[in-house]
């Protein structure tokens, strides 16, 4: 599969969030702004790429029966590295993401890619797969965070874009807004793919 094809699949046709509905907890929890979405997405991407790399290197050494616990230990190790790294460098982001950094361990996307891809493919392919899926995940979080930030706090990436005397819809940065925005994002995706299929046939 070509590199372009791979990225196209990870971003649109098989996007981990909007199509596969994997890793919904961090998706909904930390996307109250576009910046948090990117932060979470990149942290997850790092763990995904590194765990894919390590697992594809050791795929022939890990016995099949204990592969899931082994994968989890590899993933948990990189999550701990991210946790400590963020705490040391980007303390504010670490504070906002909070509990959801250790919870990257149980993000089904990462274990899913390890099991379905990295344990069966070459090192180069697994690295590429990790980067593509991680960025696809980040992309979805960025869009979701962006929509919620614009509607909920009238800003984008921290810059105010809506005149100050306009009211913003606070609901969108609160919990219900997360569910509703993602719901409507999926509706939008369905609508687009319906259109595309319509033009093809």
């Amino acid at each position: 599969m070509s590199v372009m094809e791979k990225f196209k699949r990870a971003f649109f046709t098989e996007n981990p969030v909007t199509v596969m509905l994997l890793g919904l907890c961090p998706t909904l929890a930390v996307t109250s702004s576009a910046e948090n979405g990117i932060g979470m997405g990149l942290a997850t991407t790092f763990v995904l790429v590194m765990s894919n790399l390590v697992i594809s290197i050791f795929k022939n050494v890990i016995p099949a029966r204990v592969r899931i616990p082994s994968f989890i230990v590899v993933i948990a190790t990189f999550v701990t590295i991210v946790d400590m790294g963020l705490q040391a460098t980007l303390y504010d982001l670490h504070k906002t993401l909070g509990l959801f950094i250790p919870l990257i361990v149980v993000n089904c996307l990462i274990l899913g890619r390890a099991e379905a891809f990295a344990s069966k493919n070459t090192i180069g392919q697994s690295l590429l797969d990790g980067v593509a899926n991680g960025l696809g995940f980040t992309f979805a979080l960025f869009i979701l965070g962006g929509i919620r930030e614009i509607l909920g706090s009238g800003a984008f990436l921290g810059m105010p874009i809506i005149p100050g005397d306009w009211r913003t819809i606070l609901l969108f940065v609160l919990a219900p807004g997360a569910f509703i925005t993602l719901g409507f994002m999926l509706v939008g995706m369905n609508k687009i793919s319906e259109r595309l299929e319509g033009t093809k046939s």
Partner: protein, 192 residues
């Protein structure tokens, strides 16, 4: 006594794991199509979460903190939870076959339920006695069960309704979850 009551109400309604903390959304969306499976999953989660919350609390307090290796928390907790789930599965199969039959298929799914790990970590961060940690885990699990059962009831009723094609399936489910979360916001402020 009063404090314990507030802890329970807080964990079930005010800080509901699904609607305010966003934990356990995957099983929440995944197994909520039928009321039966939702009940089964809820019971399995109550069982495992209470056990996991208690054991991880003991490990944090008597192993990780004395040895000064709290940075291993994530790895230690996830391994404890994964092996606990396996252990519960084996014991239940031998001791309570009927219960195993009812909950069996949900047990493996629980390892990747982030609510279990999330609540375990929250308990060690927020609470300072073992009894509180056990009560908190149990009540949080009840809150998860409550959210799941209500949601599956609604989704069952929705099956017979006509939903616009682009909304069918996950989108409408997410929007309903949003409205439910809005309803649960009514509890906010009741307990600090």
């Amino acid at each position: 006594m009063n404090e314990i009551f507030l802890l329970i109400v807080g964990a079930i309604f005010v800080n509901n794991v699904v609607f305010t903390k966003f934990l356990g959304i995957c099983p929440y969306m995944g197994v909520s199509r039928k009321l039966d499976t939702a009940l089964g999953m809820s019971m399995a989660v109550v069982f495992v979460m209470t056990l996991a919350g208690s054991i991880t609390y003991i490990i944090q307090k008597y192993v990780l903190i004395p040895l000064d290796i709290t940075y291993l928390q994530t790895i230690a907790f996830i391994l404890v939870i994964a092996s606990l789930v396996q252990f519960v599965e084996i014991v239940m199969k031998k001791v309570a076959p009927a219960l195993f039959k009812a909950l069996g298929i949900f047990l493996p799914l629980i390892t990747t339920n982030c609510a279990i790990l999330g609540v375990a970590i929250l308990a060690t961060q927020k609470l300072d006695t073992f009894v509180y940690a056990v009560i908190f885990s149990f009540a949080s699990a009840l809150g998860f069960g409550l959210a799941l059962v209500i949601f599956s009831g609604i989704r069952e009723a929705l099956e017979n309704r006509e939903v616009p094609k682009v909304f069918a399936g996950s989108p409408i489910a997410l929007i309903i979850a949003g409205i439910l979360a809005m309803a649960f916001m009514g509890f906010s402020g009741m307990v600090k």
